[in-house]
């Protein structure tokens, strides 16, 4: 059986890539995709821990993943809508040019 640590390392690597993307990239669309990446890294930990800690049938971890995927889908809808309206309003999706939160 593959040790749980491997899954966790994979998840950590994916999470770090996602985080780095969120922090470094300027394109909002890319940032958005990186967020999705981070979320899926978390999903991997859920599944991994569910596999290693449960004896018999306990789908708590797996259920969480389903929820996260659902929320991510909803978020994707809202997020993309925001990005579209940004693009039409500012004709740019560069994160550095969006400072409206300050006002």
């Amino acid at each position: 059986m593959i040790p749980t640590a491997w899954f966790l390392i994979l998840s950590g690597v994916l999470f770090s890539i996602g985080l780095t993307g969120v922090l470094m990239r300027r394109n909002v669309l890319v940032i958005f995709m990186c967020v999705e990446l981070m979320m899926n890294a978390v999903n991997i930990t859920f599944v991994a821990f569910a596999r290693s800690f449960t004896k018999g049938i306990n789908l708590a971890g797996d259920n969480f993943v389903v929820f996260v995927v659902t929320v991510a889908a909803a978020e994707a809808a809202v997020g993309l809508a925001i990005i579209v309206s940004l693009a039409t309003k500012q004709s740019s999706v560069d994160a550095d040019s969006i400072g409206m939160l300050k006002d």
Binding site: L23, L101, K102
Partner: protein, 787 residues
């Protein structure tokens, strides 16, 4: 008449004056509000006079009932009639009910009769004294109200109601001292509008102690009131029973007595709280007679007499009363000796006589104190009313002179400038004003001449003299009153003061006796100094002084205006240069008081002699002569019982009492004699020389021992400095510093923090990531991770 009948009419005594006061208040507000006397219609004049009639009628009714009650008590074997419940004040719940009750015992009975008698005399006298006042009806609203308050104070049967009465007389006193609240100038004396505040504030210091005393009594009574409603435990009989059974610790008895005595010190103007009384003379003189001489100021004596079952249990408290009393008696008599203001002499005399009453209480002379209280009420009421008559006539003379000058100045100016009426009128007005100012404020503030410097004060004895010719009834009555005050043999004051001094000697308190005797000498001296210099010696000096002042003032003004050929004599025909000629030829005359002012004086003069004969010493004239002692004894029985069980009670012997009587007589006659030599025979020379001889003593006495100055330094200036420190040091610096500091620091921090809010999503994401790193790091460092 039975006790039942007494119970049914008892409440009428205080209520009738209250009702009269309300009716008068209604008449004043409905028909006479803020009208000048000259603007009134005939109907309003009638209503105005009616207020006086209503006041007098009410007091007569009260007096009649009081006398009936007194007669009943004297003939009855009962010594206490108590009505427990007339109405309930603040009825809420089963326990929180304050019952209003009245009682009648010998002490109360004597007090009600004295209060209503003096009050009646003052009511009658004031119809003459106040007849030209715009506030006549207001005066007759306050006076019955005061009488009600005082009667409530002496008749209630409960410490709580005693406090209510105590404050109500304070309020009446405040209203009446400030009766002339609009006065702007009073020849250097304190103005009514300040004097009443001073009286109120100084009394508050005493009342603070009094209030604490009543509260403490309440606390003491809490465990002892099985089955008695909460506030009924403060009834005199309940409280006294607890003290008589010896259930209270000695120290507590002392402290409670002293706290209650503090109230007495305030109301009765004892050192160091006496400072308000002399300034209270700013009120109308009848008010001074009623409130600040005969009745209200004796409330303190009444209080100490009333709590005799308590205070007799603490020798220390009694000693405090004695020391304060003798100090005040001595202080008052020394100050009275040198005052020039006729009312100031009387005021300090009152302070001093109240001191006598207190040291009488302090040497266990319970009856002696109240005997003196009664006689003092009569003769001091008389003296004040007499002073009122004198001042009234002086003020009228001054007013008449103003009118004369005004009229003549106009005539003169018209003659001088026949073709320029405007200019003439202007000059006439200027000259008139100059004369008026000269009389009120003086001419030259740097002058050595007191008259030129300070103006003419109608209360200054230096400008009075020989009023006997003008007002013989006043002069003779006043002489009787002063004789009683001085303790001239056979007058009322002689018997009562001698009983006080005799008690002090009997108790072996020789220091108190000697100081009291010396004060009696001074008392005799200053009272006859006043009588001689006002009524009997010299000449009628007022017109001369008035003329001199008006002359100088107008002359000065004329020079300023550049008026030529100005002769003030033409204007002041009021007195033709010298007073003797003036009296014959011109309109000036002393205003004779009418019958309504003279009758009360005559009655009080009679009482100043007669009142003494209810209290002749038993030892000399046979047992049972001393009516007042026999009558008052039941009230002081608890105290007398305590005294019998200790070594305090002593019986006077015949020779001792006789010697003391003779000493008193000699001392008072000596005082009168000195006054006669100084102020009747050699008025121009001797007082001046005595003043120079006594050196600093004169100035200490003249300036009232510098009490006001010291108080001003300590309490006013010192208080201001202290509170300025609290303001600038504590409040502004420390408190505000902390509050503002917190705000300042917060702003500094937030100014740094707001830079973090850039509005760029990436930055926020970075903070979140950094936060995550920090959280993980903390987690790792504290909990640790185990794989």
């Amino acid at each position: 008449m039975t006790a039942k009948d007494v119970e049914s009419i008892l409440w009428l005594v205080p209520i009738i004056p209250l009702v009269a006061s309300f009716i008068n208040a209604f008449i004043s507000l409905a028909f006479l509000a803020s009208r000048k006397k000259s603007d009134l219609t005939a109907g309003q004049r009638f209503a105005r006079g009616l207020t006086g009639v209503i006041g007098i009628t009410a007091i007569i009714s009260s007096l009649t009932i009081s006398i009936i009650l007194l007669v009943f008590l004297q003939g009855s074997s009962e010594h206490l009639v108590s009505v427990k419940e007339i109405f309930i004040w603040i009825p809420s719940g089963d326990d929180f009910q304050i019952r209003f009750g009245l009682m009648l015992d010998p002490l109360t009975s004597v007090m009600t009769v004295v209060v209503t008698t003096i009050s009646l005399m003052v009511h009658i006298f004031s119809t003459g004294y106040m007849k030209n006042e715009d506030g006549f009806h207001r005066f007759y609203t306050y006076l019955p109200f005061f009488t009600f308050s005082m009667l409530l104070l002496v008749m209630c049967n409960n410490f709580l109601w005693l406090y209510v009465g105590w404050e109500l007389v304070g309020l009446s006193s405040y209203l009446l001292i400030g009766f002339w609240f609009a006065k702007k100038y009073d020849w250097g004396r304190m103005l009514p509008s300040s004097a009443n505040v001073k009286a109120f504030v100084v009394n508050r210091i005493g009342d603070f102690g009094f209030g604490l005393g009543v509260m403490w009594l309440f606390v003491i009574m809490l465990p002892h009131g099985e089955g008695i409603p909460l506030f009924d435990r403060l009834n005199y009989e309940n409280v006294f029973k607890v003290f008589e059974e010896g259930l209270v610790d000695g120290k507590v008895v002392f402290l409670v007595s002293i706290l209650l005595f503090m109230g007495a010190m305030g109301k009765s103007a004892q050192i160091p709280l006496h400072v308000w009384l002399p300034d209270a003379m700013a009120g109308p003189t009848p008010v001074s007679a009623l409130i600040h001489a005969a009745t209200m100021v004796t409330a303190g004596v009444y209080l100490v007499g009333r709590i005799n079952p308590i205070i007799v249990r603490s020798e220390e408290a009694i000693a405090v009363v004695a020391v304060i009393g003798i100090l005040t008696a001595f202080f008052g008599s020394t100050v009275g000796t040198t005052q020039k203001d006729i009312k100031a002499v009387m005021a300090y005399s009152t302070v001093s006589q109240l001191g006598y009453m207190f040291f009488a209480l302090g040497v266990y002379g319970w009856v002696a104190a109240f005997f003196h209280l009664m006689t003092h009420a009569f003769f001091k009421g008389l003296l004040f009313l007499g002073c009122g008559a004198v001042i009234h006539s002086n003020e009228d003379t001054i007013k008449e002179m103003f009118e004369e000058i005004h009229h003549n100045a106009e005539e003169w100016a018209k003659k001088k400038y026949p073709d320029d009426p405007a200019k003439a009128a202007e000059y006439a007005f200027e000259l008139f004003e100059a004369a008026e100012n000269a009389i009120e404020y003086g001419v030259d503030p740097n002058s050595d001449d007191r008259l030129m410097r300070d103006g003419l004060d109608p209360q200054d004895m230096d400008y009075m003299g020989n009023y006997f010719k003008q007002m013989p009834v006043v002069a003779i009555s006043m002489t009787f009153g002063a004789a009683a005050l001085a303790g001239v043999p056979l007058t009322a004051g002689f018997w009562s003061k001698d009983e006080i001094l005799g008690t002090a000697a009997l108790q072996g308190q020789w220091w108190i006796y000697l100081i009291g005797l010396f004060s009696a000498l001074l008392t005799a001296f200053y009272s006859f100094r006043m009588i001689f210099s006002v009524f009997w010696s010299g000449s009628y000096r007022l017109p001369n002084a008035l003329t001199r002042l008006a002359h100088t003032g107008m002359q000065k003004k004329a020079t300023e205006l550049g008026i030529q050929y100005f002769n003030p004599r033409e204007i002041i025909e009021f007195v033709g240069g010298n007073a003797d000629k003036a009296r014959k030829q011109v309109k000036v005359h002393v205003h004779k008081p009418g019958w309504n002012m003279q009758a009360p004086l005559a009655f009080l003069a009679f009482m100043s002699i007669a009142a003494g004969y209810v209290g002749l010493p038993n030892v000399i004239f046979g047992n049972g002569v001393n009516q007042i002692e026999k009558f008052l004894e039941p009230t002081f029985e608890p105290a007398l019982k305590v005294m019998e069980n200790s070594d305090i009670a002593k019986q006077p012997d015949f020779t001792g009492t006789l010697i003391l009587l003779l000493v008193s007589a000699v001392v008072s006659l000596t005082g009168v004699g000195i006054a006669y030599v100084m102020y009747h025979k050699n008025r121009e020379t001797l007082p001046e020389r005595a003043m120079r001889l006594s050196g600093p003593l004169y100035y200490i006495s003249r300036n009232k021992w510098y009490f006001d100055e010291v108080y001003d330094l300590i309490f006013i200036k010192g208080g201001l400095a202290f509170f300025r420190f609290l303001w600038r040091g504590i409040d502004v610096f420390i408190i505000d510093g902390i509050v503002n500091g917190v705000g300042y620091v917060t702003r500094l921090i937030s100014q740094g923090l707001r830079k973090v809010q850039t509005g760029f999503v990436t930055n926020y994401a970075l903070y979140i990531a950094l936060g995550l790193v920090v959280v993980v790091a903390i987690f790792y460092l504290t909990v640790g991770v185990k794989f």
